[in-house]
């Protein structure tokens, strides 16, 4: 069978014991596995066996939520990703890092090093970090305003691109006879002076196998979409319905085209939480089991924080209050806030039901069914303009990733929607994205002056 031109992209979103907050309490779960390396190595190899494009690690530089609730000791993503690079050979490796709480020189350097060490398999999920807890670990008493964080993010990316391009390809000549290791003319200062950063450069790492890491973005607010349209090569997004997903997809592609980009250069990957069973009944039983293990007091406290309400105003068997603030009054994760409020109102959920839904997928699309049914849902979204692929969020790990690899991936392959083996070596190869040109070859960047508002 000739593979069709357009192929699905699958990313395995790994998170402690799984995306369902109660996954660690399942009888088969190792509740402390995710605090160590072995658990992640197993998952990475599993995803690689399933020929996933990439795996992905979320992150925030703060301890979140109640440590009683779920596994809360997390290996720092660039460290963990390096260890996973050593344990795998083909799968792409994407880590989240914050532009608000890092310095561009340090982070650009770490990602370039990771790209070298992994042989060109690294991606950076760019986040601005929307929590007060994180701000308070970096000398701030308040979360910086949303627009401020995004303006800083845009400049951070610009500086990083300049640093990654500060060594031309081929700058290392290693001429023993002449005593010239690299050509000074092809390693150039950056001399960036902007609103947030002054960085002289050059980087102390040569241009990496991919030119620079794949740029990934996950914010779906207005600022987030603008940033994604300009820089992102892949977008992770939480979309509850196929209609919403289509609208988001069209919007991101449109924005990218408007900026003169080829819209195939930005892959849109909604999250999906597949709750699998060999029959529909078994899948629903599995979902019920997981939801029963949720301890409501933790989730209630978190929902109250997200909605900016005292916890006393939420009643488990009541609905959300009517007088919630609009998204424009929220300085945190704007799109997540709106998604939660809309979900509760659209489906007329009680607080208890809402907590169940969020506990499973934190606002992402949850789908419960057989492998064939999950494949149907994926195909529907993929072929009707809602997705270029999916961010697969297994409710419990490793079990649900294993089920996906062994039972959903073969269906997708049979339908000609997904690769049967890796054909490329780098993460860019997997996503079908070109290696960016360096500055010397005319790979000019959109400039900071036209930055997102």
């Amino acid at each position: 069978m000739t593979p069709p031109a357009r192929q699905l992209h699958l990313n395995a979103f790994l998170i402690n014991a799984g995306h369902h907050e109660a996954a660690w309490r399942l009888p088969e779960s190792d509740p402390v596995g995710s605090t160590g390396l072995e658990h992640h190595v197993r998952l990475a190899r599993l995803a690689e066996r399933g020929t996933f494009d990439s795996l992905f690690l979320a992150d925030s530089p703060a301890l979140h939520s109640d440590v009683g609730r779920r596994p809360s000791s997390i290996l720092e993503p660039t460290v963990l990703l390096t260890a996973l690079a050593a344990a795998t050979t083909r799968i792409g490796l994407i880590a989240t890092a914050s532009t608000t709480y890092n310095e561009p020189f340090n982070l650009a350097r770490r990602f370039a090093s990771l790209d070298h060490v992994s042989g060109g398999r690294v991606g950076w999920n760019i986040v601005t970090t929307a929590t007060l807890e994180a701000a308070r670990n970096f000398g701030l008493d308040e979360l910086p305003p949303h627009a401020e964080r995004y303006a800083r993010a845009a400049e951070f990316i610009e500086v990083s691109l300049k640093l990654w391009d500060s060594w031309e390809d081929g700058a290392i000549v290693a001429d023993k006879a002449a005593g010239v290791w690299a050509d000074q003319e092809r390693v150039r200062a950056v001399d960036h002076r902007g609103r947030y950063f002054s960085v002289a450069g050059p980087l102390n790492v040569a241009r990496s196998p991919q030119g620079h890491p794949l740029l990934v973005q996950a914010g779906s607010s207005e600022d987030g979409r603008a940033l994604a349209a300009r820089y992102a090569e892949a977008v992770f997004t939480a979309q509850q319905t196929v209609e919403e997903a289509r609208s988001f997809y069209a919007d991101v592609k449109h924005r990218a085209r408007r900026l003169g980009r080829d819209d195939r250069g930005v892959k849109v990957l909604p999250g999906i939480v597949p709750v699998l069973g060999s029959t529909e009944a078994e899948a629903h039983e599995r979902e019920r089991l997981l939801d029963e293990l949720v301890v409501p007091r933790y989730a209630l406290a978190q929902l109250a924080r997200t909605l900016r309400l005292p916890v006393e105003r939420l009643e488990l068997d009541g609905r959300l209050p009517d007088d919630l603030p609009g998204e424009d009054q929220i300085e945190g994760a704007k799109s997540r806030y709106t998604l939660i409020v809309d979900l509760a109102r659209r489906e007329r959920l009680t607080v208890r039901q809402l907590i169940g839904r969020l506990g499973g997928g934190r606002g992402h699309h949850t789908f419960t069914g057989t492998p064939e049914q999950v494949a149907d849902r994926i195909e529907e979204w993929f072929t009707t303009g809602a997705a270029d692929g999916f961010n697969i969020m297994p409710p419990a790990l490793p079990r649900d990733l294993e089920l996906f690899v062994d039972h959903v991936v073969p269906v997708l392959r049979r339908r000609g929607l997904f690769r049967t083996e890796y054909t490329g070596r780098t993460l860019r190869d997997h996503y079908g994205l070109p290696r960016p040109l360096g500055r010397a070859l005319g790979g000019e960047r959109i400039r900071i002056e036209e930055s997102v508002a």
Copy 2:
């Protein structure tokens, strides 16, 4: 033979193609090997075969020197160290990181993660980063003053210690039945508010196998010694003569005792550059070969920068000018400056000779001879109060590390000075240092109020 109570500690200081600046030009050298992972994996396994306590990666967040001069594309040390952790099982792993250009939450977290991933084999070489090039990558036009950098370093360490202790040992209870993952009472905020940092905490990584990474320090200025005496568990130092080394050793131990520390808890490790040959003549021939490969214009430019002179004031066959500033006028690496000036004056070296000496060991003790002679020198320093062990700085890599492991280590073992196999699992085990108590067990820290001047 019963091993004597006191054993040597050996650290393998790995740096691109070797410590001699011209090592990459040797016929047998792979001039680009050090830009990738494989070269380092080979060296790490070699040092582990030699039962070294640890290996060590230096660092500065800037591109230094002329890229023509020597390999200048460097993998970021915490990334490289993570990859080396995956490639080894016993050897300790020490990386340099700057307190001037990092945030404590980010760095404490990365080292804690590395300690988890490596099974307790990590050390942090604490540096304040003394170059203008680095400052200019982080929004500064000038190098911050020496005293300022050291005051920030002391507070940075205090915050890091608090973060590493923010989870008690045993805080993770993983009680599936009760739905309690960790005990909230045993994970505590840090609430640090100091002159340089405000950090709420707690860390989002549980207490690591070693409690915290081994703390290493390498500055030998007054501020550097004060910081080392207070916090360091190992000290790397450049000492040209055994007399100077004894005086430095006695001073550091004395300072530690004065602060109420057990002085066996701070290991003093001078650097030694062993230029080896199976005969003395062969060793000297090797040294000559290396020195001949030095391109003087690079070294001359660097010496001029270090001495704060226009390059025109240095004549290759003349001596250093008499009117050099004193150490108190130097804001950079003070002790390195004085060492260079003293070396040139004591041995009445011409600039050309000085460059040769610095090209080989950058101010560290260079010793040229047979394996027996190198072992004699090591034994002399070790048994006469000049060293607890050595920072081994092979002039060319991998060759000179291989020679050391295969020919010097066996001599040291025969003499009962060095282990024949690893007896412990962690870096602290190798150095004979206890695992620090957490705060809950009374492991109170010296407070920031009494910080170094």
